[in-house]
């Protein structure tokens, strides 16, 4: 491959000739300038259609140093929440009149680094990054210092001089824990997540602080880390029951982990929502449809997207800014 795109292309000059104006006027039309007469604009637009002209963004971006290409670097597309977030971000960005492209780091910092290095060459206007584990403040800061607008999403890198958009993780697990406590449950476990990611600490402390404030004793042995996958949820649930067979409720790091925990319960004749209450985090599409429907902390991907766009729009106060997006707790059958 590599090559292709042969056949001399149609340029602004061709359009200019076809419409009887100069190339400069054509350019003004293309850039939506307001200093071009309606008559000229119409002629040009007609000629564009007739000639089959297609705008050459490379040439434009070379000359103008402007770009409307935004790169979204997702940590793990195979994770349903990440995918949902990516889709939401894409939609919002498109609405801003920018164009977004997606790449996937697969939670691999080396790949993330390579991807970003390549993307720089494509003159992207901004980076939206869900940082992979291993991302350092230095790494991000270098990118920022080179003049690229960067926004971090979902995960916080301490010391990085970038705007960050986060859901209110602490409030989320706080609400979830309060809800569970209000039902009268006492023996509660926190399942899933991994301390290498910032949101784990935030979500976990929402749980622990609420327990402490409510004078509920709890054991760190019931805070069980695991992969944030379905299978991670299964094993975490198994471990929790091994530690404390009388568990009454579990708060999960994510819906996916909760799905796994529920799988485990069902396979062991434990009825989720009856024998053990369970709540998730993320509120995936499926959670309200499954049976029992899963109580969860709802993160609105569109709200995250809107916050990111706000930062993109207003790069001035972009640095060292943090936007915490509010969440909602949704109680369902599982708790």
């Amino acid at each position: 491959m590599k090559a292709k795109r042969t056949s001399k292309s149609v340029t602004v000059f061709d359009v200019a000739r076809a419409s009887g104006v100069s190339k400069s006027t054509v350019s003004l039309v293309l850039t939506n300038s307001n200093k071009v007469s309606d008559k000229a604009r119409q002629k040009v637009e007609k000629a564009i259609k007739e000639t089959g002209y297609v705008y050459n963004r490379d040439a434009a971006s070379l000359r103008s140093k402007k770009s409307n290409l935004v790169a979204i670097v997702i940590n793990d597309l195979t994770n349903p929440y990440s995918a949902q977030l990516a889709v939401g971000l894409e939609r919002q960005i498109r609405q801003m009149g920018l164009f977004s492209m997606l790449v996937n780091s697969g939670e691999d910092f080396e790949i993330q680094d390579k991807l970003v290095r390549s993307l720089k060459e494509y003159k992207v206007a901004a980076f939206i990054i869900c940082p992979a584990p291993g991302t350092t403040a230095d790494w991000t800061n270098e990118l920022v210092d080179q003049g690229f607008p960067v926004v971090h999403v979902m995960r916080e890198i301490a010391g990085a001089k970038v705007a960050t958009v986060l859901p209110d993780n602490f409030a989320g697990t706080t609400m979830a824990t309060q809800h569970v406590l209000a039902q009268g449950y006492k023996k509660i476990a926190f399942l899933g997540g991994n301390e290498s990611i910032s949101d784990y600490h935030q979500r976990l402390s929402g749980f622990t602080e609420t327990m402490t404030l409510s004078n509920m004793p709890f054991s760190n042995k019931l805070c069980i880390q695991s992969d944030t996958t379905r299978n991670g949820g299964r094993t975490a649930m198994a471990k929790a029951l091994a530690v404390e067979p009388e568990i009454e409720a579990v708060i999960c790091f994510s819906d996916v982990v909760a799905y796994g925990a529920i799988d485990y319960m069902k396979s062991n004749n434990i009825e989720p929502g009856k024998d053990i209450a369970i709540v998730g985090f993320d509120d995936l599409e499926d959670s309200k449809l499954m049976s029992p429907s899963l109580s969860s902390v709802h993160i609105d991907a569109n709200r995250i997207g809107a916050a990111v766009c706000q930062l993109l729009d207003n790069m001035a106060d972009r640095n060292r800014n943090k936007i915490i997006v509010s969440i909602d707790f949704i109680a369902r059958e599982s708790s």
Copy 2:
């Protein structure tokens, strides 16, 4: 936004000056030409590091009309199989030395059209498209006629003059059905899928033809269409049981549909794999881990990716080519 990327950038001229050669030599180094001395190459590479030069692909692509940017247009990123496929494609393409970007049409033809229109402006070297419902042969052919290399994946558009990479859907459901028949089950339903997509017909006919060839009576009433979502699977399972309460086995259009069907069974005290055998299609990551583990038709995303890359590499016989990627049936506890 829009703007940004200020501060006069470092160009080949700067690197040339720093390394004491001409800009042309620098360019040769950048393009990995073999007609440059090792000495010169080393000097240039050193200077590149020192000056912090970053390659300007816009300028390069403007001049050379070559691009190594491949666009992957995915039909629905929130579908786990699509996401898995996207990730596999990305990986393979990267290994080829090309760079891939992902965009999501969300099964919306209008969006797909807009996306592709934009992408054309970015001088992509090739399009890999999982066509959204509503995609016509004319639409694809226009793209091809404009000189863009196009490969369709997973779904076939009749009459489109493009290379298409498909899993062997027919063989997949054939094997699945044979497997189920071999267990002695007779009352078998086919759940999920929608006739607006080409793979539905292929998968369904694998089922119906195998049934017919084996002289097994079956009713079209037991071929139940649905959304290819978890919830679609739930409702399809419910409908199937309403038609025929004595169902012994179900073949599902996809794993996601199977997950939904299993949800339904579990909620209704039917034990999947014991009371009713069930097999899926796609073999998602989760399927081997769940309980009961789900028998499924395995589609290797890397194999699909490899086939796509082969077509990309060899654009010559790209038109009207079809590559059917072989699949494997994997029997597990659920059947």
